[in-house]
């Protein structure tokens, strides 16, 4: 048995609206909101980054469950925006949550699915008995090049999942992955902004891998769309996950609770994980959750998750940390000038 013991999310409080970005670049905001289904995105504060977000998310997770931090044996942080190319964010998180020194750690990169790859690694370490608890985090302060289409959705946020074998609030029955060498979206070392292949990111990128992993999971487990209560997909915009859900036979009711991108934007490594957290925020014992992430480069991790009675027991205190809805409520809106300052786009001598 292995599963999610507790989870936590952190989303910075600032936002910029699609209309405001469109105003600066002379674009038609309605074409963008109508096409992408995204209205606003989160923006980190001047002193926030992937590390601070990862620490907040991990602390929020630990607030909800009485776990001895010393029993955490592994920390993995997945991100495209680690503060250092060399010096792991995972060490900073480990220290901040009191898990050091008896732990293993590493940083992961696999575009938007680095966090779910961390979940899989923690599952392996727990199931083999090497560790008792592992923390897998997906956290990003995503950068979109000014004037590029991605600027409308590249957002900031993160989620932490503590994986363990005893009394999880949700059991992970099965996981499998679909991975290929596909250059749909990339960033060379030293470059500020990523580049992408335009429409190539769609069918040969997102859809091929999400469908590949999702169908693989259904085949390996016998799970069908109608057996699930919820389905969560990687959400670079609202259009792709809605379309892939339809292609797999999931209904609007199954996917909307986990679709956070319209008011959040794409939190990259945090994307599907924050979507899963939003579902766990409202889930009841017995709910079945189908999750498939996607990371460019490219690959998808699929998970078959079932919520246990523990989520409703006293052992798990959901209210001890903010839910995704609470984190999305009451934002502070920025204009493009302040947004540029927050994101470090204004170069100072």
């Amino acid at each position: 048995m292995v599963g999610i013991v507790t989870y936590g999310v952190y989303i910075p409080r600032f936002r910029i609206r699609v209309e405001e970005i469109a105003r600066v670049w002379g674009a038609n905001a309605e074409d963008i909101t109508g096409g992408l289904g995204v209205f606003e995105k989160s923006v980190p504060d001047i002193d926030e980054d992937t590390a601070t977000i990862a620490v907040e998310a991990a602390r929020n997770a630990l607030q909800r469950r009485g776990i001895d931090p010393g029993a955490i044996g592994a920390v993995y942080v997945g991100s495209e925006s680690h503060p250092y190319a060399v010096k792991p964010t995972a060490c900073t998180v480990g220290e901040a949550i009191g898990a050091t020194p008896k732990m293993t750690a590493a940083d992961y990169e696999f575009a938007c699915k680095a966090g779910t790859a961390g979940i899989q690694t923690c599952m392996g370490l727990v199931m083999s008995g090497i560790i008792k608890f592992g923390v897998a985090i997906g956290s990003d302060v995503a950068q979109g090049a000014p004037g590029d289409a991605l600027e409308y959705t590249a957002a900031a946020g993160g989620a932490a999942f503590v994986i363990g074998g005893e009394e999880p609030i949700a059991e992970i029955h099965h996981t499998c992955s679909y991975t290929t060498d596909t250059p749909d979206f990339w960033r060379r070392s030293g470059e500020e902004y990523p580049r992408h292949g335009g429409r190539f990111t769609g069918e040969p990128g997102y859809f091929r891998h999400v469908l590949g992993a999702a169908r693989m999971l259904m085949e390996e487990t016998g799970l069908k769309a109608k057996d699930c209560t919820y389905a969560v997909f990687h959400q670079p915009n609202a259009k792709f996950p809605r379309r892939v859900a339809q292609m797999l036979g999931f209904t609007k009711e199954q996917i909307e609770p986990g679709l956070v991108v319209p008011r959040l934007g794409n939190t990259y490594s945090g994307s599907s994980m924050i979507g899963l957290a939003a579902v766990l925020d409202i889930a009841k014992p017995g709910d079945r959750i189908f999750v498939t992430s996607f990371g460019s480069g490219a690959g998808s991790d699929a998970f078959d998750i079932e919520v246990t009675d523990v989520i409703a027991s006293g052992a798990f205190r959901r209210g001890a940390a903010p839910t995704v809805s609470e984190l999305l409520a009451d934002p502070i809106y920025l204009d493009y000038a302040l947004y540029a300052r927050h994101k470090g786009k204004i170069v100072m001598q």
């Binding site: 038609n28 074409d31 292949g197 335009g198 429409r199 190539f200 069918e203 040969p204």
Partner: protein, 387 residues
């Protein structure tokens, strides 16, 4: 001068073909054409291929040699192979070169092909490359894009001839209807006037659905002399006319910006060669790179007076079930527009119709006309084919 016939045709599907390279596209179309003609490769005497911009799309030049090599001819029969370019009229031009080569007696069996692979570069790069069909110095450098130039044609036309936005939208609506019945078409969905007029604005008044898409694809036809045609095909189609004309490259240098004089000239030459009248033509494949281009084409080819094509379209005369079907393939809009391939695809469509092989989009036709335009009208080819 000998008479020429088409004895084999082949097309790939048109669309975003992520799994097909430039070479894959040509080989597929060429193989189908050779099989359709019942030939073996050694019988081919020469090859002409239309391609606008492989250099910028896939960084490959020397296309004639590449195609001959990958078709299996270069190292074996060492045939002459020539790449031909006239922007979006490259395909029509390649066909014309093949026709004149056979007509003159210089070769007996010739392949005319067209190929374009457009999706391996970012969309911005595609648009910049296509702008090379216009005048780089005096149009592109000063800010005109291709849609922008055709938008100017549309604005001038709509003002002078009182064409409405809704009438103009009927062109892509009709072409999508036809495309939905064409197995190779990039777009298989029917649309409405509402789809067109509410789509994203590209260059006023042209919207997304007024514009032909970015497409990968290839097409090939095999020609021989009319006297030998029945050795290979039970349904040879005769080339009744092959004509070509030029005009100023820049739109602003034209005599009349909403009349393509090169179309007018090429059509006159074609009808003279074929010794036919307009009423003898049963169907048209015209160059609808933008919706307004089809309106102008119908008029400039001489099928109605200037200003009348909107009404003709509205009254259904150019629909699949009308008296003069236009763009039964779906046109450039719905079938797709792999630039160098379009002119050859148009020939394939007419041949299929004349042979009675067009299935769900079959019209009653014995004579068809194709019209292929380069840029905003600087090169035009017109061909007439009949059975």
């Amino acid at each position: 001068m000998r008479e020429v016939a088409v004895i084999g045709i082949g097309c790939t599907t048109f669309g975003e073909k992520w799994n097909s390279s430039f070479r894959d596209l040509f080989i597929e179309a060429g193989a189908r054409a050779i099989e359709d003609a019942g030939l073996s490769g050694e019988q081919i005497d020469a090859l002409f291929v239309g391609n606008m911009s492989a250099g910028r799309f896939v960084e490959q030049e020397h296309i004639g040699a590449l195609i001959a090599d990958y078709a299996g001819f270069a190292g074996t029969t060492h045939i002459p192979s020539t790449r031909v370019e006239a922007a979006c009229a490259s395909g029509g031009l390649a066909f014309r070169q093949a026709v004149t080569t056979i007509a003159s007696g210089m070769a007996d069996i010739v392949v005319a092909a067209g190929v374009e692979k457009m999706t391996d570069v970012a969309p911005g790069a595609t648009v910049a490359t296509l702008a090379g069909a216009a005048d780089r110095e005096w149009e592109a450098f000063v800010g005109a894009t291709f849609p922008g130039l055709y938008a100017m044609i549309a604005n001038d036309y709509m003002h002078r001839y009182a064409l409405t936005r809704e009438q103009l939208a009927l062109v892509p609506v009709k072409n999508h209807y036809n495309g939905a019945r064409n197995p190779i078409a990039q777009f298989q969905q029917e649309i409405t006037v509402e789809t067109v007029v509410s789509s994203t604005l590209v260059a006023d008044p042209l919207r997304l659905f007024d514009c032909s898409p970015i497409t990968d694809g290839a097409a090939a036809v095999i020609l021989t002399s009319w006297e030998r045609a029945r050795e290979f095909s039970d349904t040879p189609v005769k080339v009744l006319a092959s004509a070509q004309a030029s005009d100023t490259i820049a739109l602003h240098d034209r005599r009349d910006i909403s009349t393509l004089d090169a179309t007018v000239e090429a059509a006159k030459r074609a009808f003279r060669q074929a010794r036919l009248e307009h009423r003898d033509i049963d169907m048209l494949e015209v160059h609808d790179c933008f919706s307004i281009a089809e309106i102008c084409a119908i008029e400039d080819l001489g099928f109605c007076r200037k200003g009348e094509a909107g009404r003709m379209t509205e009254e259904g005369e150019t629909s699949l079930h009308g008296r003069l079907p236009v763009n039964t393939s779906g046109g450039l809009k719905a079938c797709g527009h792999p630039v160098g391939a379009t002119g050859i695809k148009q020939i394939c469509e007419v041949v299929q119709q004349l042979r009675g092989e067009a299935e769900r989009r079959q019209v009653d036709a014995e004579v068809g006309l194709t019209h292929n335009v380069g840029g905003t009208g600087a090169t035009v080819t017109v061909h007439i084919l009949g059975v």
